[in-house]
Symmetry: D2
Subunit: 326 residues, 4 copies
């Protein structure tokens, strides 16, 4: 099988996918969508950035919306165990010949910027400004009651290479799709925090962001936000779902924010903390892996994604299959 075991003691300890920084073209419009319609908590806003978090989150931000000339992704953020892990990370990236540099970032402690072998811009930090958790401020709940960021899902031109890199950093595979004949890795779901995913990759033109996954505790809260979006001027933001994936068992809804950035609201995943957890293999030809039930995904869902600022997009190593992608 094309899946590699993660080392028990990776070169440094990543805790979880933690945040993302988007370039957006109209902060007020973005705020209307993310805060007023979806119900994210606005931690703070400056002239050029809006900081958001979910209801259970104490970290200052899981989403940073930064004013930009065009929609882009600036950084994928990961929390590491402690500041010593940042030193070890810097050492390791340098050893691998990969770019890395310490930077100052508002509301975060020491922060390391780096890039993976395909050029995806990463950000590591251990400490972030802590805020008051709003989980039990039920009177403030709005929209879909977004609870927390859960994962980041990207198109990559080389799934095997992306998988191998993150496996070496300790990401463990929970599920994956492979081609039946050549057993080539088509898509992979990897995790650090003990549930289905922190990071996922699908074969496609990339690197590009496919979506971030936001965990919502109940199916009815996801249905409710469909009603809210459809009747408050955001009908066009509904791209796909609600339906259920075979992979990850997610009950899902895919949205596009005003800049086209894709968000998955989901729940119904499961724990993967057991070290003897065996990754679940799906065949690329099995339609249930992608849609256990639900309307077919629109073309946009297969093809569109957000580009990383300044990073060229390449054609995938594996040719597109006649019918499906994952």
């Amino acid at each position: 099988m094309p899946i590699r075991a993660a080392p028990r003691h990776p070169p440094f300890t990543i805790i979880r996918a933690s945040h993302i920084e988007y370039g957006v073209t109209d902060l007020a419009r973005s705020r209307a969508f993310w805060v007023d319609a979806l119900g994210f908590v606005a931690t703070g806003q400056t002239d050029d950035a809006l900081y958001l978090r979910g209801l259970e989150e104490r970290n200052h931000h899981c989403v940073v919306l930064r004013r930009a000339a065009a929609p882009t992704i600036r950084r994928l953020g990961f929390k590491v165990h402690g500041d010593e892990d940042l030193e070890r990370a810097a050492h390791w990236f340098t050893q691998q010949g990969l770019p890395c540099v310490f930077v100052e970032m508002p509301h975060q402690g020491r922060t390391l910027h780096a890039a993976d072998p395909l050029g995806m811009p990463l950000e590591f930090y251990a400490a972030m400004e802590q805020t008051e958790r709003r989980l039990q401020f039920y009177g403030e709940y709005r929209g879909t009651h977004p609870q927390r960021i859960d994962h980041i899902n990207c198109f990559t031109p080389d799934v095997q290479a992306s998988h191998d890199f993150y496996a070496s950093l300790g990401f463990r595979t929970s599920e994956y799709t492979a081609t039946e004949d050549t057993d080539a890795l088509w898509a992979v779901w990897m995790q650090r925090k003990g549930n289905t995913h922190d990071l996922a990759f699908t074969n496609g033109r990339g690197p590009r962001l496919h979506h971030i996954g936001v965990w919502v505790s109940s199916i009815t809260d996801i249905i409710h936000v469909c009603d809210v979006l459809a009747t408050t001027g955001w009908l066009a933001s509904l791209e796909r779902g609600p339906a259920r994936h075979g992979i990850s068992n997610a009950f899902f809804l895919y949205l596009r924010d005003p800049d086209g950035h894709r968000i998955e609201l989901f729940n119904s995943d499961y724990l993967t903390v057991d070290p003897d957890f065996v990754p679940i293999r799906w065949d690329l030809k099995d339609p249930r892996r992608q849609t256990l039930w639900g309307a077919p995904a629109p073309k946009s869902w297969f093809e569109e994604g957000s580009v990383f600022a300044g990073l060229a997009v390449r054609a995938p190593v594996l040719e597109a299959q006649p019918i499906v992608a994952a």
Copy 2:
């Protein structure tokens, strides 16, 4: 059995329980509870009254909160089929030697005030000012998403007399509680609109209002409002539940408003439109009629109620049972 069949053609045609007028001592506090916390739609407010309705309602009001020196009930409101029914009602009440008088009421068409044989103040009308239904304004949903008034539940000192009177007006019995030995009527649920109830009576010191029932479409919306009330300063408003009644199959939550008026949020009832529907009998000793499951009801729930303005409260005909009431 102590239940009487309703005539197919009653003296005038009542459509449903439609509204209630409460005396409340602090309109601002009442608004904070009913509108901000529970999510009722505020149709309008004057110096001394606040008019509320549910999300699906086009009638101008289902609840009128009127400034008063003490908490009281002013009127129980019922919609009749047309203005000709008001004439027939006036004629009939007069024939029965019961008080009735035509009055002017804001936002209502021609309106008849009357009283039943036990003195309960009733209000009949056919036309009420119509408003825009807010059912599909999902972005405005708050609190428990109250959908509509459903029924009115009263203590009466003589259940059999109350039942007989409303049966003669065409109210059909859906369920009732009777004593095992003497088959005396202890409590009764009666309806006009084709679901479990419009009007219910329980043996007790009365006449007093026990509660109004407000229909909420989902169990999760009822759980959510528990969370909201408990964390926005209204914890003390939660009197009983969530739990399920055997009678009516209601999944319920009982609240007390700032003046102590009781509100039931509920769902899970059923249709009773079939003319061959046979009333369901429960024995007074069967604890499941009252609590299919859930914590025991507090003493307040059995004993407390809202008095009707100017109407003396009398001891019940039937003696209280050693263990239970309904």
Copy 3:
């Protein structure tokens, strides 16, 4: 507007849409779908028929599946108030020059077979064998927890004619779709029992059945049956949804049974008992009337329906619109 008011006192009193008789080609397969997968209560089975009801229903059957050489609809069943209404119905149909005949039907009292002006086969009865309600036998709940039949939805070649006929029988219109320019009636939702519909008509090749609507109390029960169907061999039965209609506010899921007969599972409708309820008009060009949100309906949903046994299908009076139907 093309909508006609229903008379307060129609020629005879219809209570509600009550049942349907399907011709099905494989009773065992039908039972596996309706009972094992969807969770209908099987009241009884003979060599050539299976009788089903919902969890709250005491009527012996709301669905009769009868062995047949080909999938067809045999009858649309309506409950009338009493046996005297059957006499009045027979008299009235005869007066109108429409066919009607009294017949013996198992498990029903006196039964009248008749046809409407377009030939749709109707069945009227007042009394049906009563069974024990299974609403509080929660341990037996399966599938989607189907609570009761709610309505019958048909393609008709002449919506205005169908509307006019049923309006004259006392069916009141809750919502309708009309063309913007000519104000021609395209689709109509009509009711007797006080909620959104008992009977609905859409312009199309007909008469044919589009679907029966089955009321399910919670959204989560509808999502759950998607999961059940998709993983027990019935994935192909999922035709459309879950999503929400603008018209009727229904949260819906459309299924096809093993013979292709369509079933709508739904909830979120509202009361229409008020005589001053003004029908809601939707323009044919407004896409939200049909899909407040959700994936576009598949072609099959617009075009396919079940034929009535022995009744020819005719082209509709109104030409199909370029984009949409309702």
Copy 4:
């Protein structure tokens, strides 16, 4: 504060609370409750034991019900990272002067039995027989759809001692209750797997088991099992709830199995994987910590628990508070 930080590298790596072995007096009755009513998956049954697991679990068992003369707890089971952790655990327990011995257990790999300083019997293992996950066999779902064991909650006569011991093994505190004046530790919630708890302790006569926590994905599934239990002869099993704890934010229902062993069905917890997560302190006098809302807990919930086989129960170090316990 009385809370100790867990070492980043504990003496051996515990993954999570994994299973429990109960002594039960009637296996058939236990199976009727756990499997038929609650919906646990029966992995296997022998003459004297029944092995159960939740819907998402691949481990052979999370609950072992073993025939016994009296209701007892045999063992609390924890999964460790690998077999090398068992060696390190044996070494460490021996060093501490605590009992430990390697044993053979059916369906498990190498297994170490040990006891904590208060005598609670523990079981450590790394590998358990793996089974097919039933998460996507939705047609088999029954009862409350129990997804997985989540935590174990015990009475201890010395909360501080229990806390200190498990903190030294790497359990991190998510929430705790302390007395206002002396800041004495009254109750503590500790975790290894990154959510609110794996192990919790409350001051009381002990050591005794208070309950195991079983994670259920939706509130409606917890309400549904109340309906099922109340109507299938298990009404008496409902001890407390549904309601919400302030601590852990759990929406909960407490049940008693046929032998009186207590089970909590719950959800609505949150992630605690961040190393900079600061434990949440509740004051013992704050009633919301225990009941954010809901009926008061019955006396049995405060006082009753399951004894460990052969282990004496001692009076608690802290005196009971006049009003409350946690």
